[in-house]
Structures are given as structure tokens and as C-alpha cells.
Subunit: 338 residues, 2 copies
Amino acid sequence: MLDDRKLTILRAIVTDYVSMREPVGSRALVERYHLDVSPATVRNDMAVLEEEGYIMQPHTSAGRIPTDKGYRLFVDRLGAVKPLSSAERRAIETFMAGAVDVDDVVRRTVRLLAQITQQVAIVQYPVLSRATLRHLEIVSLTPERGLLILVNSAGKVDQHPVDLGGASPDDIADLRGRLVAALVGLGPSQAAERAATLAEELPDGLRPLGAVVIAALVEVASADPSTRVVVGGVPNLTRFSDQYETTVRPVLEALEEQVVLLRLLGEVAGAGDVLVRIGHENPYEPLHATSVVASGYGTSSDIWANLGVVGPTRMDYPSTMAAVRAVARYVGRFLAEG
Amino acid sequence: MLDDRKLTILRAIVTDYVSMREPVGSRALVERYHLDVSPATVRNDMAVLEEEGYIMQPHTSAGRIPTDKGYRLFVDRLGAVKPLSSAERRAIETFMAGAVDVDDVVRRTVRLLAQITQQVAIVQYPVLSRATLRHLEIVSLTPERGLLILVNSAGKVDQHPVDLGGASPDDIADLRGRLVAALVGLGPSQAAERAATLAEELPDGLRPLGAVVIAALVEVASADPSTRVVVGGVPNLTRFSDQYETTVRPVLEALEEQVVLLRLLGEVAGAGDVLVRIGHENPYEPLHATSVVASGYGTSSDIWANLGVVGPTRMDYPSTMAAVRAVARYVGRFLAEG
DNA sequence: GACTGGCACTCCACCACCCAGAGTGCCAAT
DNA sequence: ATTGGCACTCTGGGTGGTGGAGTGCCAGTC
């Protein structure tokens, strides 16, 4: 159905349209891409490509632009992977060097990704599924108000306010001791489970306090950190001010909705696999004129989350995909080394 | 120089231009604002106002629009304070109810402010200057890597990674004991000071470890939390897509620069005082077509930071100022109650 | 049968032009 | 001081014409 030349033509159309930002006609095509055929031949092929739904004309006497289906074919079969420039490699190194904690890593990653791709970047907080509880503390601020503090083996510190109800320091210390003995070394879900049973084993005197603290603990332990998402590079949207209604506005709106962002990144297969969602393939309707390039990051299933970028469907897929993949790999390794 | 009628006319021009978004002419003015004079009279007055630099014409034969100087006079002397609607009052209550910690308060505040004003909102993290150190912990994750954790009386938890260098648990506990004894109850600056002297009093065996931990401690204690800033309501920029180059793009760019944001909010006089910076009054040149409405928030000098909104100079100052003030007060009280 | 040159056709982008309408400034009259 | 009248200016929208880019189709060639 689609012979080599037609594919070459489609590739040229995508490439040209992405860089020139204008519908591309048959003459320009043969000139700029050294096709050794006449414009008429190209026109015939374009007619077929259009019939098959890979390209379209904005209006009768204009050149062609790729459809979502055209981009899809390009991404799947035609895009040569563009290796990162050495400047980009260096950027990755410099950006990440000296990150102190997970927050910092995420912040730097999002800036990095935005800078390299010149798009809007989105990074999900990593899930530390293999991390275990390392330390547990109950700090009283006033006789009434206290703070439950949990530290896991990956160095993540969680906190949750608790109502101490005027409990005595001894009781608090007692409860803490029991919790530490029972829970340290457990993963989040086991810890939550074990804590629940522990609540019933407490002596009567500790019951009310225990209930409050354990409720807080369960809440913290079962909160999924990957529901947190950080965004950067929003000013890059400026480059698409010609597509205000179709790109800028919808992206801005999507960015304030954590849920939408998570759905956009979601369902990434595995680390190294870059997922591309083009136009209508997006699960979120207002973004049907934009594409998402995302990837999982992490190491050996220990740390896991997604990151990616959003931009107009008319984007440089090979470069963007290469950048997303490179950053995902680097961050994964970086987190693994601690 | 400017009699009552001229001021009334200026007020009418500002009001009308803000709501209609179009230059306003003499006829429309007398009709819509029941001025009991003829358009010709209004024209004469407008000529004076223009001469004085309060209004201008985009071109001959267009109506007048206010200049920055005109808005300034309006804000200083003409704007009647618009009380919040009951819906807005309720919004404030509902939004803030159930905030669990400082992070949460800040997040909710920024959303609230963005929602009420329909502008881009900026909230600085509160400085807890009177807060004292309540708890200090050194948690070891691996023999090499550890975490210094500080909790202050306001319930803020700080963390900083430390290089344990394989120190023994006993040494760590010993060091911790000394630090707790010396520092708990002190404010951040005192704690940093005291810790520095303590470093020199340590027995030789604890010296290396002590140096590392105290360095981390000083860094955390002297970090100014108010340098952190949270932004919300970015999609509201969508309402000004007609002023893409002058408003949308510069604001987007400013939003990614923490430093710029801090300068924008900076120099607020005191709680309750709402600061308005109009157009060229802004210290950041690209935002010379936008205005900033900001206020300090906090209580009795204990908690202190700024919040505000950014929007086009053509904004509803009375409402915006009322909203910013109300939110600042409410959040201040809310934080005070804990 | 695949490719090509030629040709008629279509449609957009651009320009010039005109005109109504809104708004002004000025002036003489009240 | 205020006003009605008037001549003037400028914008914005609508109209019509034109050049050019690009197409589809067809008959001819290799």
C-alpha cells in the first residue's frame, strides 16, 4: 500500500512542517529533500497518503500537513532517533549534580527537561515502594497538638499533625516505644496493617491516644506520593502563541489539575520505553491538539514514577523522545545511587 | 487644579474602562454615569485630565483610557472599598477549613486567592521568626548516610542529609544528646550561633561527626523559608489573551523566577496595608504593563510573609484589594490559631 | 505501468479603496 | 462656566481585484 517513496514523502512532510511551520507543497518537497522525481509524481503519492488519512490540506490550494495518524506512523516507523548533543549531555550532568534530597531531584529534573525539550515538563514524585520505616517520632508542640514524624529508609520524611488530647509525656513515650518496636523495618502497607492490629492490643490507658496516632500513621503510610506532580517550563508555551486556543489555554488549564496530569502521564509501560500520545490519542479531550511524550523512570522496580512533556502535535518527536528517554534514564540512575 | 467633577470623571473613566474593556468617550460617560452636564463639558475636563497625564487617547477620535498615573490617583483617592460578597466570605471559610499543616495552608491560600480575584496569585511561605527548636533527631539510613531532622514549635519539620562517615550509633546518640540539651528552646538564629560554639567544645572523638552535623544544622536554621513562593491561578491569564505580549508572556516568564516574584511582593509595609504597584511602578521591567496587589499577612509580628496577585493594569482595583486584604487577614488569624 | 510536463482551476493572502461611525477640538452663543 | 454646533480625524469593516502557490487530471513518454 505504502511503498518506500510514499513513506519518504511522509517523513519529509512531517520534518518540513515541524521545522517550517507551514503546509508543505510538492515543489518545495522535491527541492528541499532531493527526491529524484517530479512534483507531479509527488502529488500523486500525496493524493494516496491523503486518501489513507496520513496527511490533509487545510484548504484546496494549500500544501499538506500531517494528521495525527501521519505523526503516529512517523513516530512508529520513520523517526530516526536523534542522539543528544554534547551540550545537552553536559546540561544533564550539571543540572543534577549536587541535588540534596528527593524534592530537590524532582525540582531539578523538571527544569532540566523543560530546558532541553523547550516544552512544558511534568515530573511525578517517585514511589519508593521498597522503602521501609526507619524512624518514628511523636513530638508534642503544645499539650494538645503534636506531630507524628516518619522517616523511611530512602530518607523521605513524612509528618502528620495529631491531637494529643493532653496525654502525659510518659504515655506518649510508651506509645512511641511500642510503635517503634512493632513497625520499624516494615514497608508502608505492612506497617499500616500491623499498626491497625496493634491498636487493639494496647492497654486501656493508651487506647485514645493510640487510636489518634495510628489513624494518622495509616493515613501517611497509605498516601501515594506519586500523586504529587511538579511542573516547569510553562513560559515555553509562549512559543506557541499562534495556537492560543488549541494549545496554550488548554495546557495551562490542564496544568492546574493534578488529576489530569496524572492521567496524561499514566500507563507508561516500563523504564526506557517512551510513550507518545498524539492529539486525539490523549485521554483528556481539551488536549486533543497536543501531544504528550512520557517515560517511566526508576531502577529495578524499586523506585518508580513517570515524567514527560506536553506540546503541540507539531513537535520534533525524535529530539523530544530522545531527551525524555535520556533524562528518565539519568534520573533513575541518580536516584538509585542515592 | 482637579475639581470634584474632574475627579468624578476620572473615576468613571477608570470604572468604565475596566468593565467595558474599551476606550470611553464623552457621550457614553454622561449617559452611563448620570453626569448632569453635556458631553462638551466632559470633553473640556478630559482635555485637562489628559494634559495632566491622568488619561490618554490610543489615537485621535478614540475615547480615553487611564494612564498609570490615572490608576494611581484612582487607587489612592477615588476607589471606594468594595466589601466582599457573602459568597466570597463563605469561599474563604470553606477553602481554609481543614488545612493540616503549613504547606497545606499555603497551597489552599494560593488557590483561594486565585479563585476570588480571578487573577494569578502568589503566596510566600511564612517566616516563623518566633518559633523555637522543639526536637532534633539524627536518623541513620545507611552507615554512611543519615538525616538531620529538626522540628520547631510551629510544627515545621526540616531535614538535611548528613554524611555520617560510618560513625557508631553511640557517638551519634551522644552528639544528639548534647545538641538537644544545648539547643532546644532556642530560635533559629540563636540555635545556629550556639551550635557553632558547641562545635568547639566537643570531645575529640565527636569532632568530625559534630562538624558535619552542625554544618547541616546551621544551613537549615539560617535558610529563609520566605524565599519559597507558591503560585496559582495561572489559567486565569487566559482572560487576557488579547494582551498576550504585554501581559501573558511576561507574567509566565516572571512566574518561573522565584527571585522576581519575591521582589514583586517585597517591601510590603505591614499587615492590613495593601500595597498596589501599577504598571511602571513595578521594579521588574517586563511587567510594566501589569499591576501587583500585595499585602503582608501574619499576626503580631510572630508570623510574617507576603501574598498578592498579578494582573493587567486594567484591573478592578477595589475588588482585588478587598480580596487580597481579606485573605491576608484570614490566613493570618488562621495561622495564629494553629 | 510508472513517471512526467502541461494546463486549467481553485482558493488564500494581500492590497487598495471606500464609507459609516465614533469621538474629538474649537468656537461662538448663552 | 457651560453648551450646541460643526468641521475634522481616525479606525474598523466591507468590497473587489489580483498574484501566486498549489492542486488534479490527462495525454504523452520511457
